[in-house]
């Protein structure tokens, strides 16, 4: 039995995106007697069978701790874990596997950078520049480290369309800016930020750049060297892998100079009561037994995504977003929040006179899963003067039938409330 799913041979890229839906067992079920219409992938996506198989195989036959034993299962487990790292590296085109740190997810990845890099580099008078459209996970870690170091957190404003105000960004990016952290694709608005442009500007100002890529991974083929970001954080469970596994990509030079974050096993070379020497990258940042099965699942998800033609995927999702946005105009009093020119398939909206929570409960009865609330982005809600929105997010497995059922559910909400 081979412990490692070998990389697929050079099969032709998949261009028939509609055919992918059948790979997802969760989507074959009914809820409340209706076919499940899953439009909440921006919160967490479903896993394809290939990922589920990899997880079951790892946990049933190959499970043991990694980097520790000399026995067969430990060898297999280590190989599977490190092979997942290599496939992630290859997928995002990082220069070395030393640059791929496995974490619990985007939130932990950002906390790691904020604590380790921020903690060692920031001092009073320094600034961390973020944007008004950040998820709380790209606000609070910076707030915490700023509080501790005396640095200042500066949010760059966004426009009424939900795009970064580039003039303001340029003005706020100064020689005091040490770190620039921004979201690649906004979870609340769908805005695709001009990442390369922002990274280049930040580098020209001498700042280190951290990109929150959680929402970008399921929609874009991300190349970290092409972006030239210093750090890129993402989560497995938004890209068709299980929860509890994520990645911090960081340039090796920066990760080398950063102090370890958490202490424990795995991250050490030698320990005595006189002192400890730390392990090499990436283990330096992976204290404790890692989420081995999660990493294996992420490796399988990356294999799954690597076979997809992303031009076809983006065309599929753009068509879904366009269709859904247009159909939404049929709903009396509906208004889209987030109308950026470059937008991923995330549709946030409000309906006059019906709170998003009520919308969510009513469409759920029609089998439609949408997210409702502030989307962990309270400043975005404040910016648009709403308490909450409903959000339909479309992934590669959604189709026009999903949109029809969403619109039907929304009609029922309007009927009930008027």
């Amino acid at each position: 039995m081979s412990a490692v799913a070998t990389k697929s041979p050079d099969l032709a890229p998949i261009t028939d995106i509609a055919s992918l839906r059948e790979d997802f067992p969760a989507l074959q079920q009914r809820v409340h007697g209706q076919p499940l219409t899953y439009l909440d992938s921006a919160a967490s996506s479903q896993c394809p069978q290939a990922v589920l198989d990899a997880v079951v195989r790892q946990q049933s036959l190959d499970h043991a701790n990694v980097h520790r034993g000399v026995h067969q299962l430990s060898e297999r487990s280590t190989l599977a874990y490190e092979s997942a790292r290599e496939r992630v590296r290859d997928y995002i085109n990082a220069a070395s596997e030393h640059e791929i740190v496995f974490t619990r997810g985007t939130t932990e990845s950002i906390n790691l950078v904020a604590e380790s890099l921020g903690g060692s580099r920031l001092s009073a008078g320094d600034e961390v520049l973020i944007t008004w459209m950040e998820h709380h996970s790209n606000i609070v870690p910076w707030q915490m480290i700023c509080e501790r170091t005396g640095a200042r957190l500066v949010p760059a404003p966004i426009t009424d369309a939900g795009e970064i105000d580039l003039e303001a960004f340029d003005r706020l990016l100064t020689d005091r800016t040490r770190i620039v952290a921004f979201v690649h694709i906004s979870n609340a608005l769908g805005t695709v930020n001009p990442a390369r442009e922002l990274i280049a500007k930040a580098h020209a100002a001498g700042a280190v750049v951290v990109v929150d890529g959680a929402q970008a991974m399921p929609h874009k083929r991300v190349d970290v060297r092409d972006l030239d970001c210093d750090f890129y954080a993402f989560s497995g469970h938004k890209m068709f892998a299980p929860t509890g596994i994520g990645v911090l990509y960081g340039k090796e030079r920066l990760l080398e100079e950063m102090p370890p974050w958490q202490g424990g096993g795995e991250m050490i070379l030698t320990v005595s009561f006189d002192g400890t020497t730390y392990n090499a990258l990436p283990c330096k940042f992976e204290a404790g037994t890692p989420n081995i099965t999660g990493a294996v699942g992420l490796g399988a998800a990356v294999d799954y995504l690597a076979r997809i033609d992303f031009a076809a995927l983006e065309a599929h999702e753009t068509a879904l977003l366009g269709h859904a946005s247009e159909r939404l105009t049929e709903i009396d009093g509906a208004r889209i929040i987030g109308t950026a020119a470059d937008k991923a398939s995330v549709l946030s909206f409000v309906i006059d006179g019906i709170h998003a929570h009520d919308v969510g409960t009513i469409v759920d009865a029609a089998g439609v899963a949408v997210r409702t609330g502030h989307h962990c982005a309270m400043p975005v809600m404040d910016r648009f003067g709403v308490a909450a929105t409903a959000r339909a997010s479309f992934a590669l497995y959604n189709d026009d039938d999903d949109i029809d059922r969403l619109i039907l559910g929304l009609r029922q909400a309007v009927e009930l409330f008027r």
Partner: protein, 148 residues
Amino acid sequence: MNELQELYREVILDHNRQPRNFGAIDDADRVIDGVNPLCGDRMTLYVKLDGATVQDVSFRGTGCAISVASSSLMTERIKGASIDETMNLFEMVHDMLTSDANEPPDKLDKLVALAGVREYPSRVKCASLAWHALRAALKGAEHEVSTE
């Protein structure tokens, strides 16, 4: 659609459309902010006491139909009631929202309209926010309360 109609009964929809006792009381004795971190809903409850009686009560804020109707029904019901009676009511409503073991007591009257929430665990907090704020207000708390 049946469970939905059970949740969104006409009295809920009516109190959501036209909430009673909506607005501030300028000379309130107790003012409490309630927050539901799950959805970001906020409400402020104003209570004016006359000895051991709730002389006047009102609320302000944004929320879903369940939370607005619950606040509205609550203020309508407790205006003029004694503090003891009100605390007793809190317990009965709390039981009704969180356990389906018993039929809600007749004494709840119109408040029984909130019973449909039991089938929707994620919405229980929407209905209970106002009541938690009320209990905190009557106990003399001055800080913010949350459903968590």
